[in-house]
């Protein structure tokens, strides 16, 4: 079974700083997808960034980028120039390619990120 581990329950940084959230996962498969989701107090899970395991290039989305280390099974999220609106729970998630057509996401336990003014 696949597992996802986020070892930082909480993190706090000052506005405009850079912060890195850690995630490790365990799988015996070679092809899979990794995600970072943001969950603000509204409870909605918002996709931040997605990485396909077969792509060597790290994904980037504006201020968000990942460091994907396939051999180490590590998938960290870097947030540059952090903003107050980045305050939220962040979840790392994993899925194999479609199983019976389904994206069965496996989530980590989350990291609560606070951006201080």
């Amino acid at each position: 079974a696949q597992t996802v581990t986020q070892s930082q329950p909480e993190m706090s940084v000052q506005e405009a700083e850079t912060v890195t959230l850690s995630c490790t996962y365990d799988t015996s498969e070679n092809n899979y997808y990794l995600f970072w989701y943001k969950q603000p107090p509204s409870r909605q899970m918002i996709l931040v960034i997605r990485q396909e395991a077969y792509k060597q290039q790290n994904a980037t989305e504006n201020r968000f980028s990942v460091n994907f280390q396939k051999a180490a099974k590590s998938f960290s999220l870097k947030i540059s120039d952090s903003q107050l609106g980045d305050t939220a729970m962040y979840f790392c998630a994993f899925t194999l390619p479609l199983i019976q057509g389904a994206q069965k996401l496996v989530f980590g336990q989350g990291t609560r990120l606070t951006i201080n003014p």
Partner: protein
């Protein structure tokens, strides 16, 4: 455009009662998912619909849980004889086609007293 809508936003019920949670996906999205998020945890997969049929219900914890999507749009998650351990946020998500990104709703927070 409208996102995934879930109702009610919050539901408080007594142990042993029956509850229904509703999910209205984004128009045109054929894939629909239910996840459950217990306090302090990440969401866990419950069930997946492709169209009207439940293609994968392997995450449902027991036979008290059941979900339907009769017309391939709105879905209802039904929980019989609720237990305190069922208390959680129930999240619904939909996607346009099978491998496109999931769009989540704001969830229903269920509290069983």
């Amino acid at each position: 455009g409208a996102g995934v809508s879930q109702t009610p936003s919050n539901k408080v019920t007594e142990k042993g009662k029956y509850v229904e949670l509703r999910c209205d996906p984004i128009s045109g999205h054929t894939a629909l998912y239910w996840y459950r998020q217990s306090l302090g945890q990440g969401p866990e997969f419950l069930i997946y619909f492709q169209g009207t049929g439940a293609a994968d219900d392997s995450g449902l914890p027991n036979d008290r849980f059941f979900a339907v999507r009769p017309e391939g749009s709105v879905s209802t998650l039904k929980i019989q004889r609720t237990e305190r351990g069922d208390s959680a946020v129930y999240l619904c998500a939909s996607s346009l086609i099978q491998n496109s990104p999931l769009h989540f709703g704001n969830g229903t927070r269920l509290t069983v007293t």
